[in-house]
């Protein structure tokens, strides 16, 4: 197994949001996280990515095998598309960005400053970053925001190609990606119980 989550409880802003969550993700597998707004999908992904510690439970993953993509793409508006991708490729110890540019058809935009791109084009650039990292597990938070239908298909194709190479993907999304092989995990049932009222008072007394 590439990623094993055991009896995980997580909190956002000091308030528990999910508890008792367990799942595994192996090579070639994708998992789609679903659940209403505010349930803790982003918090879960950030915990898996190692950006914040869990309340309890365990995340077993090699940190060096994982790449995280959040709500914002980490794009510098004054650098060109190529410079942005080159930077991330070098940061992850790679050099070749041509495959990533081709996968998200960024070729015609390659010399443009990223600040001049539309929201959807920026997102495509943000997703192309995943390909240049060469990491096996993709942890993606709402990757399809502001993408059009064609770009969503491009993204789904990129995920499929990644899975075919033995990668894995953990994706929080609200829309249908057309990834029929992906397991779906609805995190709704794992919602943390509200704090006990007496305990709640206790913190203030």
């Amino acid at each position: 197994m590439m990623l094993t989550v055991t009896d995980l409880s997580i909190a956002r802003g000091g308030i528990p949001v999910l508890e008792g969550l367990s799942f595994t993700l192996g090579a070639g597998q994708a998992m789609v996280l679903r659940g209403p707004n505010g349930i803790g999908k982003t918090t879960l992904l950030r915990t898996v990515a190692g950006l914040q510690p869990p309340l309890s439970g365990q995340v077993d993953v090699t940190p060096e095998s994982l790449v995280y993509a959040g709500h914002s793409d980490g794009i510098k508006p004054t650098l060109t598309v190529t410079e942005n991708l080159n930077f991330w490729a070098q940061a992850f110890g790679n050099h070749d960005i041509s495959a990533a540019i081709a996968a998200f058809s960024l070729g015609p935009l390659a010399a443009r400053p990223a600040g001049a791109l539309s929201a959807g084009q920026k997102r495509r650039l943000g997703l192309a970053r995943l390909l240049v990292t060469g990491r096996a597990i993709w942890v993606l938070d709402e990757p399809t925001v502001s993408l059009d239908v064609d770009a969503v298909a491009m993204f789904a194709a990129a995920v499929r190609a990644h899975l075919a190479q033995g990668g894995a993907a953990l994706i929080a999304t609200h829309i249908d990606l057309g990834l029929s092989e992906a397991q779906v995990l609805d995190v709704g049932p794992y919602r943390a119980k509200p704090l006990d009222i007496e305990d709640f008072d206790g913190a203030f007394l």
């Binding site: 980490g74 794009i75 930077f87 940061a91």
Partner: protein
Amino acid sequence: MIALLTRDIRLAMRAGGGFGLGLSFFLIVVVLVPFGVGPQSALLSKIAPGILWLGALLACLLSLDRIFALDWEDGSLDLLATSPLPMEGIVSVKALAHWLTTGLPLVLVAPVLGVLLNLPEAGFLWLTLSLALGTPALSVIGTFGAALTVGLKRGGLLLSLLVLPLYVPTLIFGAEMARRGAEGFDITTPLLLLAGITCGTIALLPFASAAVLRVNLR
């Protein structure tokens, strides 16, 4: 690491990068002081080392909040934190990039601006040397302050208040070294103390900065 350094320098040089901000502030301070003090060249040359040091320090302070704030806003900081670069390396490179784009230009223009303040001839070498020795400490300490306040909206005020007391020793020994140099006294003691402060902060503070950055990213 080198990729991060070249990216940061490139970002600083491009439009809106704030490369000239510290320099122009330094220029303004040094040009305006003689107007405020009046045409007394003896007094000016006496206070020149202090004014130049103070101007350089404030110019440095001006660009500190950009070190992490921009990367935090556009999400790069999260992505850098999950990249293979160690956090200590990231903050060290950030501090180095800040020094190369802010501290080093200040060191280079200080002798030129010294003329405006009637800095004694003997002082030019020691002023430049003291700034070259002291400004790296300003950048490293400032990076620590920026790491502490990353994620706070309009954190600049808090950042200045946090960093100013930490800047005091550098200012005291830096200005003292420049003053003694200008007046032809022995500069060994302030030189050693200033070098010690710089080496100490460069050796220790990146670890503290990395630790607070990890907490702030949660």
